[in-house]
């Protein structure tokens, strides 16, 4: 009979340090601390990290250094390119080398208006993912993009200062907000227009265009073939839409919990029966989940996860509903707690 089935980890200890624990959890931790010196040391270490980090002045803010550097270095490039004709040649030469080096894995050509006399009027950026892994890049405007396998995009800004992407395949966009320059993704028969948000677009084999919104608001558009009118549909966070090839219309569809899983292992369950949650986890993590108890399977679950492994997800769910689980290789078995007492 070891303490309790509640697993003591850094999350629980952090909760304890921040006074977020329930009295039951507190009791368990206090018992655990009394068990042995190492346990107390572990808490001491976390406490020290917490106390020391609090002394920082000025206090940190959540900046994205990589993104900031990419924006700055692009400005530096543009500035350099505008200085003299010789430096223009140099930069195109450098790009050619990068292309050659990168060609085996992916084709990557950046053309930053070194052919134009008027700086910053037109930019082009071509990116293709020929590898089997997700490719992350930052577009010249600072927007982030994740390209799924064998997807490719062409990015440009046009005369009206719109940011335009032509997409083939599947891509996730986290668009840098710029109210003066709408961001437009053209894919197959339709497209998506936004100001600043994150969403993904997938071109299906049958010509349908599927769109899932992760944050903010987007507008789907297409031309109706019969009337030649443009059809629109606005989607917000956690909604999905389909520009149907067959039906000549735009349809709102129920959101897919694992739509963004390929981007950053993101899952978002909204009032889903646990049975369905388990099925989604099975597909995403390539595991088998055995759960025979209808009491558990019929419970409705709402939560989201980013970048967790399957055991962490199961643990969170099991804590919520107070059931137990056992994991052996790729098989997870779920049992209700009443049966073992």
């Amino acid at each position: 009979m070891k303490s309790d089935n509640l697993h003591i980890d850094d999350s629980l200890l952090a909760k304890f340090l921040l006074g977020e624990t329930t009295s039951k959890e507190r009791g368990i931790i206090i018992d655990w601390l009394d068990e042995k010196q190492e346990n107390r040391d572990q808490l001491d270490q976390l406490e020290s990290v917490w106390l020391e980090s609090g002394k920082l002045k000025p206090k940190p803010i959540p900046v994205n250094k990589t993104l900031a550097w990419s924006i700055l270095s692009r400005r530096m490039d543009e500035h350099e390119a505008s200085l003299s004709p010789s430096s223009k040649k140099y930069s195109s030469f450098k790009i050619a080398i990068y292309t050659a080096v990168a060609a085996s894995v992916l084709a990557f050509i950046g053309i930053f208006n070194w052919y134009s006399n008027q700086p910053a009027e037109i930019e082009q950026f071509v990116l293709a993912n020929n590898s089997t892994e997700t490719l992350k890049e930052i577009l010249p405007d600072g927007s982030e993009i994740c390209l799924n396998e064998s997807a490719q995009i062409r990015y440009e800004t046009n005369k009206n200062q719109q940011r335009i992407v032509h997409l083939e395949g599947e891509a996730f966009f986290s668009v840098k907000r710029d109210t003066l320059r709408p961001f437009i993704v053209h894919a197959g028969i339709g497209g998506v227009k936004v100001l600043g948000t994150s969403f993904q677009v997938k071109e299906r084999a049958n010509g349908d265009i599927a769109v899932d919104v992760s944050s903010g608001k987007v507008e789907l558009f297409r031309t109706n073939r019969a009337t030649n009118d443009t059809l629109h549909l606005v989607l917000v966070k956690d909604e999905s839409g389909l520009i149907s090839n067959l039906q000549d219309t735009i349809i709102r569809v129920s959101s897919n919990s694992s739509a963004f899983f390929w981007v950053d292992q993101r899952l978002s369950f909204r009032n889903k029966p646990l049975k369905e949650v388990f099925e989604i986890l099975e597909v995403c993590y390539n595991v088998e989940i055995i759960s025979d108890d209808p009491e558990i399977n019929d419970k409705y679950y709402t939560s989201s996860f980013i970048d967790n492994d399957v055991e962490e997800v199961i643990e969170v769910i099991s804590n919520t509903y107070q059931f137990s689980y056992a994991k052996e290789n790729n098989v997870i078995t779920i049992t209700s707690n009443d049966s073992n007492e």
């Binding site: 001491d44 020290s48 990290v49 206090k59």
Partner: protein
Amino acid sequence: MLLLTSLTLTTEHRIHSDCISREDFENLFNDHYSRLCAYAYNFLKEQEGSEEIVQEVFFKLWINRSEIQINSSMESYLYRSVRNASLNLIKHISIREKYKEYNKEAIEYDEQIDKDPMNASELELKIRASIDKLPEQRKKIFILSRYEQLKYKEIAEQLGISVKTVENQMGKALKFLREELADYLPLIVLFFKHFFNGE
């Protein structure tokens, strides 16, 4: 008293006319960007503006690198530039009222820490660098909890995620920091133990 030696390598860059390479410049940027943004944020209380100001300072430094004469250390040059740019922005901003209060507060704060804003201990730099390394979402959650002192529930509401996720991410953040700072921990823990036992 603990670990007060500063990282001389990164803090003592000096620019001699235009001999700074792009690589050195990138290192300089990486070493100071997040701390300078935090510094600007103290004046402006607005993240996007703070980042823009810091980038502008770096951009100007780069394009004028052959003309700028820096007599003090690189670091104090950067801090001074960021502070001046921030205060100028506050002065020139049309919605002056909005910033008046901040301005007062900022200047008071400024006087407190301005004497040596860049004089950070090795441990402090290490903690900042480790926070910087956290994935975006986790960093945001940690900062909201640690520095904005928000409750898990408030963080969850603000970011549109579940309390369980906040809990999880906080656990991961602290675990990561604990591992990153492992070399420093024995000393700190010893210090605290001593402190508590001494009571």
